[in-house]
Each structure stands twice: as structure tokens, then as C-alpha cells.
Amino acid sequence: MKIFSVISAILITAFFFSFSLHHKKEYNRLYESSVNDLDKQLSRLLEVIKNNDVSVQTGREHIRRQIKTCRLSLKGLDFWFRYFEPVAYRKINGPLPVEWENEVFEKFEPPYRREGAGLTLAEQYLDEETVSGDSLSGLITSSVNALATFRADSITQNLDSHHHFFLANRLYLLNLAALYTTGFECPDTSSVIHELRSMLKKVKEIYSTFDETFPSISLSKEYLSLYDKAIVFVTGQPSQFSLFDHYTFIKDYVNPLFSMNQQFITRHSVVTKNYNDYSLNNNCSSIFDKSLYAPQNTKGIFSLVEDEALLKEIKQTGKLLFYDPLLSANNLRSCASCHKPTEYFTDTTQTTSLQFDRKQRLERNTPTLINVIYNHLIMLDGKHISLQDQAKDVMHNEQEMNNDQDELLKKILSCKEYKVAFKKFLKYTPEEKEVTLSHIVSAITYYYADFSHYAAPFDNAMNNRQTISADVQKGFNLFMSKAQCATCHFVPMFNGVKPPYIGSEFEVIGVPEDTGYHKLSPDKGRYKVNPAHETMNAFRTGTIRNTAFTKPYMHNGILQTLEQVIDLYDAGGGAGKKLAVINQTLSSDSLRLSDPEKKELIAFIHSLNENIIFEAPPSVLPRSANKELNNRKTGGEY
């Protein structure tokens, strides 16, 4: 009897084991067969390139058709590939020939040069006069080689457990909101929605196979039913991406799916081993919530302080310092002189601010400090990797505050109120023996960062908390399609940080020196930090949020109105305006926006004005033991 029960137990276990093994193979098999299919299509593309003459139209059309077949095949793998190995993915479908990158965890090293290859670039080159069969073959051969990465054990073993699935799915949903519908890496914009439909269906197949293989941790019925509705919605939408309802697609389908997927991540105790996840917050339930990804460290030296009451004191001291002209060598200029806290922390009256000598002008326009914490690199050229480094730089900079560190500390600590406060804060930074400049700047960054957590009407609408006008929705749909804004200003921060939100992007758009477009602005931008052909005149992409209140625009403050800015883009940037910009990252073709369309775009931009609660300036500044310093003005002057 005993033996019988043991044997039957073994048999049952073996049965279930083989059952699960069998099904695990199903999920793996789908991956494998999809990789094989792409491999086959890429090899065929190489043959088509070899057998056709690229200098004649029919030859090019044959190649183009096979590129499209390959792209569709890739859409069945995008879900996994982008998550598993984004660097290798760029060899299969990179958006640019060369990208210079500084991702969050690489910030402490010089920028990396990453060469793109593959389908998007091949399709772009096909329309250029200099195209050759060899260069096309080169791009596709790189893709074939990169495909081997995705067959490696280190990658495929991820498929054996559920952990990767919900994380890859999160990235997929974020990409659905931010990249897949914008033509970001689809040069033929007439194919965007066609490819989207195909991808949605292929991912449905991935979902079904996953659910078969991991029945106990499958996607919920609610999720799958909403996903099916998303497919129906997209199928019923026009095929032209400029007529596609991006607003409803994201609001009613992608964002709720994202929210459910976040719950799965928590419920199934998903653990990540991937370097694409670390910036994303598992506790955030909406793409349009500012907790979506980790911002800059705003606490600096006070990072380990948890005590709320003390943090409040640090913030108050930071506020006093922000308004205190003691921070400049001549005791005339404070942070608030240029970053006016009641005016979105910028100065709307100056093209570029006066230098320390009060005669010459600075090279660049004062940026707003609101939402800077959501950039991974600070300053328009990405010179600084932390907010605290940036603040120190301004204080030392000869053209700005022109201060000597010891002198500055002496002045600040000559005020009793500051001295008492910092002596207290010092106890919470045990590694430091005395008050340093790091204490000063950390209090300042902690203060101003507080103004970045507000939501805009557009966020509220996306989260179903308020309704928004039809013009705004139309403007957003244009922003995401025809106006080509969203290929650089990514959802949801509308800055240069795209999913998985780990790096800041730079672009060359050919900003002129004068409004007559006679000359390109001589500012070298990112080139000053990282000299390379691609970085000449490149600037970090800023956010669209609150722009209605942060004029003047562009790095040199040359444009005064949003209409002027839209005209620059509509014309195809500086190159479209006939300026010699050799490395413009923006197409030089006109966008052909109509006047009503421009108005709708502006309506959308206004919906990104955040409901910020500003504070009044401090009534008095701390009194110094040095009486001469007590005449200084709150907020400073010019």
C-alpha cells in the first residue's frame, strides 16, 4: 500500500513536471521561432540587396519591401529585445548612426559612443543619393551579427521564469505611450500605425503563450480584456498616424494597462536583474504621475536625513540662501536674481542675463528650475551630473557669482541664524567635521526642487481627474505625429528622457543667432563637454512643461513667443531656414503645419502649465555680525 502511494506520488509529480517542461518550451519556442524568422528575413534582405541595383527605382523598391517585411518580423520580438539588450537592439533598429550616451549609471565616466545599424537607417539611406549596396549590406550584416546576442544563454535563461515578463511588459507599455506611435524609429510615417497593429497582435500571442506556460502567475482577465479592446480601438482608427487618436489610445488603454502591470510587479514579487529598471518606480500607478522615474538626488549631503521636521528646517534655510545675495562676491546677486521664484524660477525679461561685471551678457538664457530634477544631466550642455555640482559651479563662476569658497562660507556663517542652523545640520552628516559648501548647496537644491512635484491639467486629464478641451486633444495628437515633437520631447515629462528613463538626449536643431536667420548661433553646446562631430551645436532637450511662462526660448533666448518657436520647427529647423547646419538631428523638410494646427499645438502646450503654488519671498534675511552686509536686499538686484 505504502509503496503504491509512493509510486503514484512520483508518477503524478513526474506528470506535472513534464507538463510544465512541455509548456515552458512553448514560451521559449515562440521566442526561438520569432528569432529564427527575423534571422531568415534579414538573410533574405541581404540577398535582395545583393541581387538588386540600388541606383534604379525598381531595385530600391524591392529592397524597401523586404525591409518592411523585416520590420514586421522584428515587431514580434521588440517586446523582449528592447528589454533584454538595448545596446544590441540598436544594431538591429538603431534610430541614429552614432549616439553619444551618458546613462545614469555611466554618468561618472566619459560619454560612450554607440553606433547604430539596421533597418531604420537602411530605409533612410535608401532615399539618399549616395546610397550603395555595400553600405546597406554593412548595416544589415551588423543586425545579423547582433541577433546572435539574443540567442545567448545569458539572455534566453530569462525566459525560464516570470520575472522578466512583467518588466519587459512595462517597458513595452511605456514605449507604446512614448515611442511606437510617434515615428521615433520608423522613417516611413505611413507605416507607423500599420506596424503598431501588427505589434499589438504579436504581443497578444506572447501574452497567450506566457499564460499557458505560467498559469499560476498569468495576466488577469481584466488586463487581457482591456488589451483586446485596445487592439479593436487601434484597428478601427485611421491608418494615417496624423489622424490617429493618440490621446484616447494612451488615456483609455495604455495607461490603465500600465497601472495593472505595476500591480502585477508587486503582487508577483518581481525581481529585476536588468540595468533598464532601476530608474522606474514600482509603486507608481500612472505614467502621468511624477513618481514614474527617479529624479536627481535633491538632498545632496543630507541624503541620509529622514527626520521630517529637520528636513523642513533644511528647506527653510535653503529658501533664505536662495534669496540671499551673500552668495555672490559683491553681495548684490542671489539665485533669485535670475531664477525668480515667483516667475517659474526664470527671468522672462532678459534674453540672457548680465554677467558679474554688470556690463556684458551671459552666453545662455536662464533656464527654469522647475522640473530640472527630471534631467539626468544638468545644464544645456550636460556639463554637470548633479544639482549640487551645478550650484557650486554658479557660485564659483567668474561670470556669475565669482566667489571664493572660504570667503563665501565665512560670510554665511557670520550670520547667527545660518550658523546655528548649519551647526545643527552638521550633526546629521557625521562624515563631515565642519560646515562645507556642500551643506550650503544641498539646502538650496532641496528647497527649489520642491516646486517640481505639481501636476498640469494635461496630467489630470490623462488620470481621468478632469476633462480637457478638444483643441488640447488635437494639439496633443499633432504633437505626437505630424508636428514630430514627441520624437524628442518624450511622454510623460516632455523632455529628452525616453523610456526606460535613464539618459538625457541632445539634439541639433540649428538655432540662429538672430531672428532674421542670417547666422547659426556660435554656441558649440555639448561639444564643449564632449567634442565630436555629432555634438557640435547640440543641446539637451528641455521640457515643454510650463513653457508658456518661461520665455524667451532656445539656449540663447533668441525667440520671444511660442509662435516663433513653432515656426522654426515648421520650417525644418535652421537647415530648413537655409542655415548651414551639417549635423542637424531634425529633418530639414517643412512640417507643413496649418495655422489652426499651430494654434492647437499651442493649446496643448498651455495644458502643460502646472498648477504650482508659489511662495512669497522671505521677509527678512539673517543678520550678519559684519554690519556692512546687513544692507543687502532680499533676492538681490542686478
Binding site: V104, F105, K107, F108, Y275, Y278, S279, A294, N297, K299, G300, I301, S303, L304, I385, S386, P430, E431, E432, S438
Partner: protein
């Protein structure tokens, strides 16, 4: 009477903790010869900051200072490198809740301390 007891016990505590401190050995650092004297001083300053942070936030799990001897486990170079890399990316929040909150400078101090600390063989 009660005050006297409190004061005397406080005094005793100070004496004990004082003697504890004096017993603790100063950490010696291994800095390559090619490093200039100024940079050497800077390295040591950073490592000393790291030591303070390590004692406060890491030593509970990774070795114990409190017994008056340097019993920090000897991390291998690879282990330290891995720590540095993962600390920048984001450490496992279950086991490294404090390290995760540190600023990049603070992580740097701790790593400098671990890298330069002379390991007794």
C-alpha cells in the same frame, strides 16, 4: 541622590567609551607610490569619511567595529567594483536600504575607504 547616580554613571560611560576609542587602531591605507602628496592627503580624507559612514551604516552586517578591532571582512577587488557599480544603479532595497539612500559622494567615500584600506594578510 538620584542626580549623583545619573552623573556618576554618565561619567563612567564617558570613561569607558573613551578607552574603547583609544583601543581602536588607526586605519592604514595602501596608496600607490605614484600618487602625489596632495592627492594622497585627499584620498585619505575621503577614505576617513568613508570609514565613518561604513561604521555607522554598513558595519552592522558587514563586520563589527565595536569590539575594538578592525574586523571588516576583506572584500575582494571584484566585490568592491560590483558594489560600486550596483550602488550607482540601485542596490537591492531589501538588504541595502541605507546604502540606497546615500548620495553618490557618500557611496564614493565608502568605496574609497574599502579600496584603500590596508588589508592584513
Amino acid at each position: 541622590m538620584r542626580y549623583a547616580f545619573a552623573i556618576s554613571s554618565l561619567f563612567l560611560l564617558v570613561v569607558i567609551s573613551d578607552s574603547k576609542c583609544s583601543k581602536q587602531k588607526q586605519t592604514e591605507y595602501d596608496i600607490p607610490d605614484h600618487v602625489t602628496p596632495e592627492n594622497r592627503a585627499l584620498f585619505i580624507e575621503r577614505a576617513e569619511k568613508g570609514k565613518i559612514l561604513y561604521k555607522l551604516y554598513c558595519a552592522d552586517c558587514h563586520g563589527i567595529f565595536a569590539r575594538g578591532k578592525d574586523s571588516i571582512p576583506n572584500f575582494t577587488k571584484t566585490q568592491i567594483d560590483n558594489y560600486h557599480a550596483t550602488a550607482l544603479i540601485g542596490l537591492d532595497p531589501k538588504n541595502h536600504a541605507v546604502a540606497q539612500k546615500m548620495s553618490s559622494e557618500q557611496i564614493d567615500y565608502v568605496v574609497t575607504f574599502l579600496r584603500l584600506r590596508k588589508v592584513k594578510k
